[in-house]
Point group: C4
Chain length 238, copies 4
Amino acid sequence: MTEERWFQLTYWPLLVASLVFIVAYSWQVIADLQGTAESIARGLIFATWIVFIIDYLVRLWLSSPRGRWFRHHIFDLLVVVLPPLKPLRLLQAFTRISSKRTSQGTALRSRISVYGAGAALILIWVAALAVLDAERGAPGANIETFGDAVWWAFVTITTVGYGDYYPVTPGGRTVAVGLMAGGVAVVGVVTATFASWVLEKAAARSSDDDEPATRGQVRNVARSLAELTAKLGEPPAK
Amino acid sequence: MTEERWFQLTYWPLLVASLVFIVAYSWQVIADLQGTAESIARGLIFATWIVFIIDYLVRLWLSSPRGRWFRHHIFDLLVVVLPPLKPLRLLQAFTRISSKRTSQGTALRSRISVYGAGAALILIWVAALAVLDAERGAPGANIETFGDAVWWAFVTITTVGYGDYYPVTPGGRTVAVGLMAGGVAVVGVVTATFASWVLEKAAARSSDDDEPATRGQVRNVARSLAELTAKLGEPPAK
Amino acid sequence: MTEERWFQLTYWPLLVASLVFIVAYSWQVIADLQGTAESIARGLIFATWIVFIIDYLVRLWLSSPRGRWFRHHIFDLLVVVLPPLKPLRLLQAFTRISSKRTSQGTALRSRISVYGAGAALILIWVAALAVLDAERGAPGANIETFGDAVWWAFVTITTVGYGDYYPVTPGGRTVAVGLMAGGVAVVGVVTATFASWVLEKAAARSSDDDEPATRGQVRNVARSLAELTAKLGEPPAK
Amino acid sequence: MTEERWFQLTYWPLLVASLVFIVAYSWQVIADLQGTAESIARGLIFATWIVFIIDYLVRLWLSSPRGRWFRHHIFDLLVVVLPPLKPLRLLQAFTRISSKRTSQGTALRSRISVYGAGAALILIWVAALAVLDAERGAPGANIETFGDAVWWAFVTITTVGYGDYYPVTPGGRTVAVGLMAGGVAVVGVVTATFASWVLEKAAARSSDDDEPATRGQVRNVARSLAELTAKLGEPPAK
């Protein structure tokens, strides 16, 4: 079995596993489950984790050479080691966005915008769950409800940082560091997308004659010249 | 009637409706209206809303194909659903900025600067009104005067976030999230405009001979070559 | 007298006036002058203001057409209306930075870095003076010493915004808004300069043969072709 | 002895000196050493400082012309004057990253990412040590443990700035200003790297024929034309 075939076979199961994870985790944290319900939620979360670990190991085993695959899939390893990143898998559902747009640049920018916004929202939701899970009940903690946790996540990812809510436990702070790094990346992606648009507009020429010459054009000239040279090389028609 | 004709007919009425909205909303919130005066202000705001909804529906009805128009006018739908965004219509008043500038890049950059600054100021003003409307009188709220609300909006859109004022109600926090997103976009636009300027300067060549060859140039060479080939194809003058 | 001549004549006097302004303003605010000393400092500040107003009016009068000059020197008008911006004149002292660098892009980037760092430091110093001037003694104010004011200015211009110090008076907040806008611009300039460097490096080709063709090259080809055509048009040498 | 030779000879000794510095400094600050242990740690730190000063002086002495070397190695001078920057030397260990990647742009971007992340982590670690060293025990200080100092450094370098911890001593604030400047630079580098990637993708043409013409191509055409001209210049074959 090839890696490609495995990828197609596991597309839907992994998407469903991501959804199960996010629903079970949200349910466990928001409802602050105790007893049997908590066990069920934790069981579901653990099951999705096993699914992702198996998928990673099978893909590593199918790939060749393995060292190269490992180096090029560091992010997949991160998703396996850090379960809260699993919902980022849901972004794959957007892969089939139609891209019948005017230019390639525009198509790329709309795809980046959709992916960037989707990743930011998933990060905010998961970080709010994780920080609430870590902080609730800790001495001196001020993030005590899910509403406050979501608000804190928005304030953090945009790097505003009012300081009305902030984590105080090592676990909550680790989540916060990840979210801040995500915030710097979000600002970077937004800026890069705007910059690409401004540069494309600013470089637009008034007429096609002012565009840079293409390789195809010069190849045509070279071919014409070769034909002329060949003709002149023949003995002149008597 | 075509969509273009409708657009021209409604240009001034919609601009006036945006102005009426912002004046009525500012009056209602800043003066903290009660009784009859509040009813009048709310009536004016509601009337401008009706005007925008009718405009949207007529344009959707006139367009063809409608699915495509809908997808390309998501922002117009947002303005209809979220009335506080209506004043962004005022930016259209800048559409006729003369652009007799030295280069196309410079013209584009001055237009982006004017639009960006205008959009930022309108967002700050409207967000200050909306957050004051949501927060005033709420338990634990600290944004109680319009001056403080404007100051809070500036601190938020630049992502400084001192934390001397911050919203505590769900409504106020929703407004804040929109303003923070606007802040990230403003930083992105400023950076992209600077980047475009730096790149244009850094790429400037010392002489025209060093500029990239244009398509027009190569077309001229190809034409000369074709003429020469045609001439040589004729029987040599006896 | 031409505008160019006036510019050369007033180069040193205006630089000195900027220096006098910043020294007198620093002295007045930091030493919290009272009585005669305050009158002297205020007199010096007022005198430099008069100098800048006269310079602006003379240049407007010498220019032609005046409407165009006015539109292109909005920043000069800002400096005259807002005296604290006068020290930005000191940046002109860097105009003669030698630029014997390897490439034009590198020369441009080092100039932007020097100007950007200089403008940021002047903005921080002047904003610290202005905010201390506005806040000291106001009820509820927390910026009371020059050291705290400088620290506050650094925290604000980098958009960190801890919230340990913040202005509470309308005057202090106006200064803060200007400084935040400066902060967004500083981040934009730093990013744009890095982006220009990364893009130049990433676009570097391995050999000169892979660089885009230049206009000069194609002009040479066209000239050779024209010479050949002219030669063939002559009667063949018998 | 040439500068190049000296550089190779001192590569490993300086790397080890950087490591000794960071271990000794971490030990001294985190364990809050007193008495003999503190003297040993301070002695080690002082020894690494001497090593760096000697290296700088020898390289200045070997270089020619010295004025030019001095201007191009301002950063090296900074490292000597500000000992906490010494661990940045450790980044040199990454110099030998293999770069067998698909394109030059990708290779450059992965190198920038690795360097940027490494520099950010070293800055955070060293700033946390330096700020804890300056703040611990100062009246009114709130950064009292190493965990809080690291958390404060992350919150500062991403420009989030909650304000739950902030320095109050001149020494601690100086460290903070350096870290904030580093934060602005980190955001700039991240954005520039994303922008380079977006621009390269957006500029990718669908076929090689649509790429800009290269200098090599036009040189080939010019050579063919010259050969043809030379042939036609010969007497026609009888």
